[in-house]
Structure formats: structure tokens, C-alpha cells
């Protein structure tokens, strides 16, 4: 395996892809959103129960590439039991790390740092995080196709 390939597809990412944390739709979710990447057709659903500004339950489902799925799993792990303000801060830190803004974060999420050199794939990695942000905005009214979709911006495609 080449050095570069192992920088992206690190064991920690491949493990999260294989055995994702928090996989499934949270029943009776208070917050939910669907995310969609029109470039590749990846779909992500993020659902949560939030009580008193704290995640009580958080889950996701994905029909996606390994990077997107592993990224969602890492997000589940990082934000379980988190407060909303802490979650929003972490989402912003994660995005800044991916955008190559020199932010260092700890834990499994740090495994995605190499993605700053692969902007085409950054969209895959960020999809779950953007979907979570959308869910927090939407509350429980969201879900379902097109109207509730969060489309990542696209500069690609034939």
C-alpha cells in the first residue's frame, strides 16, 4: 500500500467504516436531517434526541463511500453526550481542520487531517457534519427527500 493511500485510508478510518458507531435512525428524534452529495449520490441521515441542550441520543445512516461513513461514525463518537454549544464548536473545528486552517483536534477525528490535501473528497468527509448542522437548525420538522436535503456545494461533475 502506498504511503499516501495509508495517510487517507488509515486503520482508524477503515475500522470506523467497517464497524460504525451510532449506526441507525434514532426513534422519536427531536432533530433530524438528510444530506445528499449530488456529485456521487451519497446519502446520509442524521437523527438525534436533544434534551436541555444536550444530546441524549445520536444516530446516523448512510449510503456512501467509506470516508463519509467513517466520518459520520467519528462524529457520533465525538459528540455523544455532548452539549449543543460544545457540538457546534467541534463541528466548526473539524471543518477548519479539513479546510487546512491549521486546527489540531484530538481523538479519532484527527485521522481525517490528511483530507486537507484532497478537496474533492473533503465534501464526502464533511457531509455528515453539515447534515448534523442542518438537523440542529431544522428541529424535528425535517426528513424526507428533496425539501429537507442538505446539498454540499458542487464544483465538480461532467
Amino acid at each position: 500500500m502506498s504511503e499516501r493511500a495509508s495517510a487517507i485510508y488509515q486503520a482508524v478510518i477503515l475500522n470506523h467504516n467497517r464497524s460504525p458507531k451510532g449506526y441507525g435512525v434514532v426513534p422519536l428524534a427531536t432533530h433530524e436531517a438528510d444530506g445528499f452529495n449530488p456529485i456521487c449520490g451519497d446519502k446520509v441521515n442524521v437523527s438525534a434526541i436533544i434534551v436541555k441542550d444536550k444530546f441524549v441520543n445520536l444516530g446516523f445512516t448512510a449510503q456512501s463511500c467509506a470516508l463519509c461513513r467513517a466520518s459520520a461514525s467519528v462524529m457520533m463518537e465525538a459528540l455523544a453526550d455532548s452539549t449543543l454549544s460544545r457540538a457546534e464548536e467541534f463541528v466548526s473545528q473539524f471543518e477548519n481542520m479539513i479546510r487546512g486552517k491549521g486546527v489540531v483536534i484530538k481523538g479519532d477525528a484527527a485521522a481525517f487531517e490528511a483530507m486537507r490535501d484532497y478537496p474533492a473528497r473533503a465534501k464526502c468527509v464533511l457531509l455528515p457534519w453539515r447534515t448534523l448542522t442542518e438537523a440542529l437548525k431544522n428541529g424535528s420538522t425535517a426528513s424526507g427527500v428533496p425539501p429537507g436535503l442538505t446539498s454540499v456545494s458542487t464544483e465538480l461533475g461532467e
Partner: protein, 414 residues
């Protein structure tokens, strides 16, 4: 014998030397370019022609009496002649220079078909169209109330020809079909399709975007009404394309864009349009790209010839099919023959984007995603595939690099 061949056999080493980008290292590896379906690489003679125009002869066309303008006009118009010969059109005026395949299809939809359809009428396409040959017709459908009818594709990725024929009825007012599928590389039986259309008296257009770099086109013998393609899939620059149309059609079609260069005279009371094809070419075009397209065509006809191209590509097709058989868990969509070496692949349960990234890290450039043919992939129940599309400059080493890259991907996800 042509510049890069002897006794019909391609001298691939010499040919590769005229594609400068092939000597580039990609992420520290030799470039294996397998994305010619998206756009072909450009040979030196195209690059130099574009460079020459900007460096030695920048001028606008069809106006000005100075030498630079005359030279630019002459080189611009020489592309029209080259296209006419390339397509074996009967008349140079049947060649409209556009910005690409998409522009050509949209022009025909708006200028030719729109006034010929009403509620209840039908436009026939196939299930293997590129979005460029779907969306303009949907827009027309929504505007006019006509119906878009789609001829199905069989399990092997080929057109269901008998269904196609049976869908041509008294309600069918226009047929627009792809010649070679951009997603699968499968070649449609265009002669048979034209025959079916003619028997019913329905005009037919071909999207030849993928076809022109692989197959000789003879619009007179084929007897199609319209044909469109893009320069950048024919070794030429982006931003230029061709609409071929029969003179009798082009003459009655109103222009869709007004401006300079498409008029005979303008007053505030009345404007008289220029003749075909100028009436469709408003504004200053991408002159450099048009000149480059002419060189792209000369590269194909003078330096290679379709016999050489076909022989080399069929060799690659057979060798790649054989080599890919040995990759475990690999499924190829669109196995029907005749086809050109374009392979739409699914590797086990690994997502196309992951395969594409791991191949890229080995220097192998492929397309991943839906290839602007979402309805076709949906027909096969997948959102995305990995597409390796070969061209004349690819060799056996490229097949090896692809197979090796796919095997590495499998190892990583084991």
C-alpha cells in the same frame, strides 16, 4: 501509412510523445490517463495551433480588412471545411460551430423541434442518454406539453432495438439518441435506427460526443438529420463543438441568439439575418478553440486514420476485458458488443469514490460517479460506478496499472 503507423499498426511510443501531459508525474507516479470519456488529452499540434493564434495572430474574424483578421478568418473557416470532410457532409454550410454538444442539442430542441410539437406529441430518446440529451427535452416537454418517451436498455447495456422501433409511432415527432454510450461504451446500431426513423418519416439526431474519437462518421451515408459533438472529446480544446444539420432544416430554423456576426443588416426597424450557418453563430466565438478543433481533426485523419484507431482500441478492449476478468469481485456494466474500451465498474461493496481515490494515488485517473447518466445507472440499481475510458494513446501498461490499482483497493478494504 500515417505519421504514427506502419502497415496499419500503431507506433504507440512515438504517438505518446506528442501528448506532453503523459510525461507528467501524478502524486509521484507515472500518469495512467483513463478518463478520455470525460475529455481526451491534447496532442502538440492542437496545443501549438492554439498557442500560435494567440502568440502570432490574435484578431477577430469575419470583420476587418487587415492581414491578421484575414488570417484568423481563414484558419477559423478552414476548421469548418475540415469538419465537413470529417463528417462527409455534402455542404460546408451544414456545419454550425457551437460551444459544444450541449449547445447543439439545445439549439435543435428550441429552434427545430419546439415549433413542431404540441400536447400529445412525443420525442423519443433512449435510457442510455447523457443528461445533455435528457434535460433539454424535459424542458421542451414542460414548455409544450409533449411527452418524452424512453427506449429501454437490455441487461447487457445495449439498446432494446425492437422496443426502440416499436416506440416510433404516429405521435413521434423527433428522435434524439446517443451513438456511443458515455457510461458503458456500447455502440448503438445507428444505421438501423435511422432506417426505422426514416420509415416513419421522423427526423433523427445523434449525440456523437463519444463516437467521433472512435468511429468514422459519414452523415450522408447515415442520412441522419442532425448530429452533434464536442471538440474536447476529439483531441481538441474545450468550448467548441459542432452541430451538423441538413441544409433544408437549418434554412428554416430561426436563430436562438441575436447579436453581431449573425446579421446581413440591422436597423431599428428591421434586422435581416445572415444565411446558414452564420445566423447561428452570433457574437465572437472561441476562435482559438475552433482553430484547435481543426487540428484535432487533422490529427485523427492525417496522423492516424480510423483503421489504425479502431485496430488499436479493439486490441485494448480485448486485452482489458481479459485482464479485468481476473480481478475478484469486479462487475462490469455494459458488456454488450460492439463497444469501445470504456468500462463502467463496480468493485465488490467498495464505493466508487473510494476506488477512484486509491487509483488516483497510484497515478491512475478514472471517472467516478454517475457519468451524467443517472437514469442509466438507476436502471442497473447503482448510484455510481468507476469508469475507465481508453483512447488511442493508452497502452498495455495502462491496463496493468488499472488492474494493479483495483487489486490494491481490494487489499485495503479486505
Amino acid at each position: 501509412m500515417s505519421r504514427f503507423s506502419r502497415n496499419g499498426k500503431l507506433n504507440i511510443e512515438e504517438l505518446r510523445k506528442v501528448f506532453p501531459v503523459l510525461s507528467r508525474q501524478i502524486r509521484g507516479k507515472k500518469l495512467t490517463y483513463l478518463d478520455s470519456g470525460a475529455t481526451t488529452l491534447k496532442p502538440l499540434r492542437v496545443i501549438e495551433a492554439v498557442d500560435h493564434y494567440y502568440r502570432n495572430g490574435t484578431a477577430n474574424i469575419h470583420r476587418g480588412v487587415h492581414l491578421l483578421s484575414e488570417e484568423a478568418t481563414s484558419r477559423y473557416e478552414s476548421t469548418r471545411t475540415a469538419v465537413k470532410d470529417f463528417l462527409n457532409a455534402g455542404d460546408e454550410r451544414e456545419i454550425v460551430l457551437t460551444s459544444g454538444t450541449t449547445a447543439g442539442i439545445n439549439l435543435v430542441a428550441k429552434s427545430f423541434v419546439k415549433s413542431r410539437v404540441k400536447t400529445g406529441d412525443e420525442i423519443l430518446i433512449t435510457a442510455m442518454e447523457h443528461h445533455a440529451n435528457i434535460v433539454p427535452w424535459q424542458m421542451l416537454r414542460d414548455e409544450t406539453g409533449c411527452k418524452l418517451v424512453v427506449a429501454p436498455v437490455l441487461e447487457d447495456g445495449s439498446l432494446d432495438v425492437s422496443a426502440f422501433k416499436s416506440l416510433i409511432t404516429g405521435r413521434t415527432k423527433f428522435i434524439s439518441c446517443v451513438w456511443i454510450s458515455n457510461a458503458f461504451g456500447v455502440i448503438n446500431p445507428v444505421k438501423e435506427m435511422v432506417h426505422a426513423a426514416k420509415s416513419a418519416g421522423v427526423p433523427i439526431m445523434f449525440d456523437a460526443a463519444q463516437a467521433v474519437a472512435h468511429e468514422a462518421v459519414d452523415v450522408q451515408s447515415l442520412d441522419c438529420d442532425f448530429l452533434v459533438f464536442s471538440g474536447h472529446k476529439l483531441f481538441g480544446p474545450t468550448g467548441v463543438g459542432v452541430l451538423y444539420g441538413k441544409m433544408k432544416h437549418l434554412e428554416v430554423m430561426p436563430p436562438q441568439m441575436g447579436g453581431g456576426d449573425m446579421i446581413k443588416s440591422v436597423s431599428f426597424e428591421k434586422t435581416i439575418y445572415a444565411d446558414v450557418p452564420a445566423k447561428f453563430e452570433a457574437g465572437t466565438p472561441d476562435i482559438a478553440a475552433v482553430i484547435g478543433l481543426g487540428e484535432g481533426i487533422r490529427f485523427v485523419t492525417e496522423d492516424l486514420g480510423f483503421d489504425v484507431i479502431r485496430a488499436h482500441e479493439q486490441e485494448l478492449l480485448v486485452a482489458a476485458e481479459l485482464a479485468l476478468q481476473d480481478v475478484p469481485d469486479l462487475k462490469i456494466l455494459g458488456t454488450a458488443h460492439p463497444k469501445v474500451p470504456i468500462f463502467s465498474m463496480i468493485l465488490g461493496k467498495i464505493h466508487a469514490h473510494d476506488v477512484g481515490t486509491i487509483l488516483d494515488l497510484q497515478g491512475v485517473a478514472v471517472r467516478t460517479g454517475h457519468h451524467c447518466a443517472q437514469p442509466l445507472l438507476a436502471r442497473f440499481g447503482v448510484p455510481a460506478t468507476v469508469r475507465a475510458s481508453f483512447s488511442i494513446y493508452n497502452d498495455q501498461e495502462d491496463i496493468k496499472a488499472l488492474v494493479q490499482g483495483l487489486r490494491k483497493t481490494l487489499e485495503m478494504f479486505a
